[in-house]
Symmetry: D2
Subunit: 359 residues, 4 copies
């Protein structure tokens, strides 16, 4: 276990926030795949820090070198390994407070797990920065899925108590995907992006941070992906989603609200739309018995507020074993949710590709 | 992929609801383990159908034969395989309606996935009955965990709109475990079990069903289990939880509510309780950066209402490709939540054991 | 790890020689597969004890019950689990000598590995009897391969110093497969079977045993199976072959003799036979760079003499920690090689199927 | 599948001979491990080309950059990824003959497997050069094993028909390890290295190449490693050994000669040496029932002659689909065996480490 996932395509992630670099090794890609590098850069730019007032000011170009598996602009079938060099690191920020455990962070759990040998600078291997290689991998997966007419899109469902509309589970338009992708605060309802931006900036001014949620939809997934036990579509998606730092909840379709419903309300009744089997509702988020039913796969993800805040917090010093007061410095996102959107799409693409190859 | 899970201990599930039997093969158990078979039977009885007015009337003793890996009352270290014979099957119930897809069920997705060759009787391999072997496996895992002082407990958090209290995330008492285990509707707040029973019986009378949610806590988990990527504690637990039929949402700690909180509210501040690091709150459900922090691991699971209801529903006939009206017969639970409780505990035990052996 | 193998199709073996039964769980078989049960029984009869003077007198029918995954004479797509009940066990043979470690056997290594809790009766989980489920699994795999025109055949290459001819690596005839399959001592050269039988019976009379080797060929394997690292065709085949008890050597094509050859002798030169690429020789056994080249895949397997012999041997008593003299009783094969032939074919079928599904 | 191996420690290999670089990602190393980088460089130098008259003149320093997982001279517990940049590439050698398939090479099988998209330059991902990262990984594994007093050593057992002595299977001296390691042609018997060198140079002059074999011993392996099915010690070692290019045979202990022996000759009888269980002989190469018995683990590996020879060979042009005559140019080893020795030791270290962590 640890930084490895996948069966048909195998992903091995590596790197630390302030080390030489970060990257991912993707093993099992088909040979002869044309990679649209511009599109991959676009996806990585969506996650990239330093481009918005709502995010950290750490400015990383996130340029990647392809070390292997790519020849004459096509995949070779051999493992594809990329390296994103770390450039804009200010490690001095961390050294002085490294023994004071930041609440809500992995400082303490990482310290214990790795017997104090972990690279603590900038969160090391726990850094949200490690999601950049995930976005690369997801961008590759998306290109394979796109060739099979499968599309993935997401929007911010909420920031704090400000809520966007939900996707219409029956009529998500493919044309919306590009629109959402171009938005800094991708949302469905008019005006809500501005409210969310305001809320985030308010939190930044308060030296605080704010959580939120993201809704994601996967369109044109064929019927029959997934397994009854133990690799349900929900299992595979949730496995990856919960490996994104800060994700603390995942629900499919109507999700937790299903717990309050009756069978007669919750069951998605069937009909034939020509030859295609459809349901009148999509409370199950396109998944029945762990297997896709052809309706859009829909899920929501809860993201906790950024743990790094500048407010004083009660903590402990792991060396002196005494209480300590912490004021986190360094450059941090007051709200990680906008940058989480492409990461969520990325792992969704990886999950669906895995399930597709299993079939 | 498919009915297989695990790395250190490998679980292979098998069986169909109305076939010869169901079971599980557990590979990798330590040798010399004393199995408390009475305790295993107790756990299986908690899930067993036919024992309560709130559940299906199908009466299965769920007795198991140990086929291998057990000698002189101890595990041998070789694979442990069990067989639970199917006895109380009434397959006639299903044959007549097998081509009419039950809404909310895996009939349609299973039909497509397995090209129509799946055993449709009683839900076949998709049946909730297949969770009986999970409870066996979980009971074995619980015994190993118990020897390490790790305990798992759960209660029904809600049935429809009737809500129980939450666990106090800081003070879950081990003595409550046995009390909850003995309750037919395990709940914390006085009187809520009666309300829930009433609600379930009302749904049965209405030929309907009702959903609910379960809260589970795992006590005394050592610090340092789990991985930053991709095998976070949340990932491993959610993977298994989402393979339980009807589970549509999983959240850890304060879960989806974290999405509405600020960092200053959500962060669990640290203190030393003697030599032990603790947090004043447990919004993160005992997990930080994907790794246990020593606080109780807490999560909630949303369970959709039983799909099998006797009310008329709109459906399709997969052979004639025409619309059809369905009235599900057979014996079904108006609410699966009470029987889901031991299953949730079981997979939680499997997950924690896996993480423990990874360390 | 332990009794589990496979990625696309997953095999979990279970059982002990003198326990309730033995079997295998096969997960990932396609749905709708017609199993020719007679053909499976034939394969299992080839391995079955008690049918020949050259083998043990333990008579096991090796009838199997299909517990799951099989409905209306076809696979359902759900896990297929079988049980072969143990019937003809005489465990008294073992109890008295259980603390005296049989040389060449797994008594000592199993005792240490499983802390003395292993089922020692009849070799327990180490028994050659556990290969019966392998033959079942291989028979299923063979049927899938046969539908793709891939055939597997083997003959005894040597017993002691008596040698059969090698397969002509360029012209193995499919019609020979059935002939070899029907022979008790499957061999190519006229008269060699009789010599081998005589040698085996001589060893039996001497209270001794004898080793041998088996050559196996796999015909019509498509070009392109296998991986450069780490899952070469040789790796995957050898992995399974070396899990057959008593196998101590595996070589592909010209094998160890290649170590004495020059490049100009060893290289298999290419030509076009119509559209098909062929080689003038097949020193590489149909595998180049770990990948099949379309020529027959050919390998030899060395099998050590049965460890259980009735001659007195020097040993130790693991309890008293003293020297002990051992005279193994019980019913044993003076030569395991003839019964190993179908087992070798079986695992070869499993390996090729795995590689085929990887493609 | 493909360039990935391991369960407890996971190795992902990447790179092509004439691409940007080659490397390996090692996931699951313990944190806090002091890496002796000098010792790792020594191991890599043993495999490095360009340093001897018996090897290719391609001169690669094989310097590696550690990209991640290493901080303050210790492993961090996060994935360790290294990059060996390719420097001394002369790709022009290959372009002109890329469509003529070199006999004995992976040109044809790679072309078919990867649909012609593989990087053909210098053998691409099939190049023996890819074994450099294996030696790195093995050197790391050796350091962990050394701390547990486990040592690995190997010598050239034969080149063509020139044979070295075998290890004395009962008395391999640890002090010999360093002596063998320092020898360009590591051999046991006085004078045999000179004979072998002469034979190799003779083959080079003849524009030919020559095969050979390597014997390897692993000392002080604890009793109880390995599994009865399917992960026997032989299985795990052979799996890795057969992924080394050019390996075509693997045998344990007395190996293929066991096939000619009687049980009374082959069985290794037991005795107590003080408290330690030993055997009078070691025909089983330290492995019984797939599990280590505490005696030295001994195996031999057959290595075919280098496929690249300058003699004219009959081949085909894959584009024109016509016969073609091939004269391989480029820089090649007339005998790969000396450079294979450290690679064999390396994968043996990886295998034993995996088995050790399984225990």
């Amino acid at each position: 276990m640890s930084g490895f996932w996948g069966n048909n395509i195998k992903y091995s992630i590596y790197g630390e926030s302030h080390g030489n670099g970060i990257g991912i090794l993707i093993d099992g890609l088909p040979a002869g795949l044309d990679l649209d590098l511009d599109e991959i850069h676009n996806e990585m730019d969506r996650r990239r820090p330093g481009k918005s007032s709502t995010a950290t000011s750490r400015n990383e170009g996130d340029n990647f070198d392809i070390l292997s598996g790519y020849f004459k602009n096509k995949t070779t079938g051999a493992p594809l390994c990329i390296l994103i060099k770390n450039t804009n690191t200010i490690s001095g920020d961390y050294a002085e407070v490294k023994n004071v455990m930041r609440p809500g962070h992995a400082d303490f759990t990482g310290f214990v797990k790795y017997d104090g040998f972990n690279d603590y600078r900038g969160g090391g291997h726990f850094s949200g920065r490690i999601t950049a290689p995930l976005v690369f991998a997801g961008a590759v997966a998306k290109q394979i899925l796109k060739a099979k007419n499968i599309f993935i899109t997401a929007h911010i469902s909420s920031i704090g108590n400000i809520k966007d509309d939900d996707f219409n589970p029956l009529e998500i338009q493919e044309e919306n995907i590009e629109i959402l992708k171009a938005m800094e605060i991708p949302t469905l309802r008019q005006g809500v992006a501005e409210e969310m931006t305001e809320e985030i900036l308010k939190c930044r001014n308060d030296k605080d941070s704010i959580g939120g949620s993201v809704e994601c939809a996967i369109l044109n997934v064929p019927v029959g992906l997934g397994e009854p036990f133990f690799d349900s579509v929900e299992s595979v998606l949730a496995h990856l989603l919960f490996s994104i730092p800060a994700v603390k909840g995942v629900e499919f379709g109507t999700g937790f609200k299903l717990a309050t419903m009756k069978g007669s309300e919750a069951n998605d009744e069937y009909y034939y739309d020509g030859d295609v089997v459809k349901t009148y509702t999509n409370n199950n988020g396109g998944i029945l018995g762990g297997i896709t039913n052809g309706m859009p796969v829909i899920f929501k993800t809860a993201i906790k507020p950024t743990a790094s805040i500048s407010k004083d917090q009660r903590s402990i010093n792991i060396l002196t074993k005494e209480a300590a007061t912490l004021e986190v410095r360094g450059r941090h996102d007051p709200c990680i949710v906008p940058r989480a959107v492409p990461v969520i799409e990325a792992v969704a693409a990886m999950a669906i590709l895995e399930l597709l190859y299993n079939k």
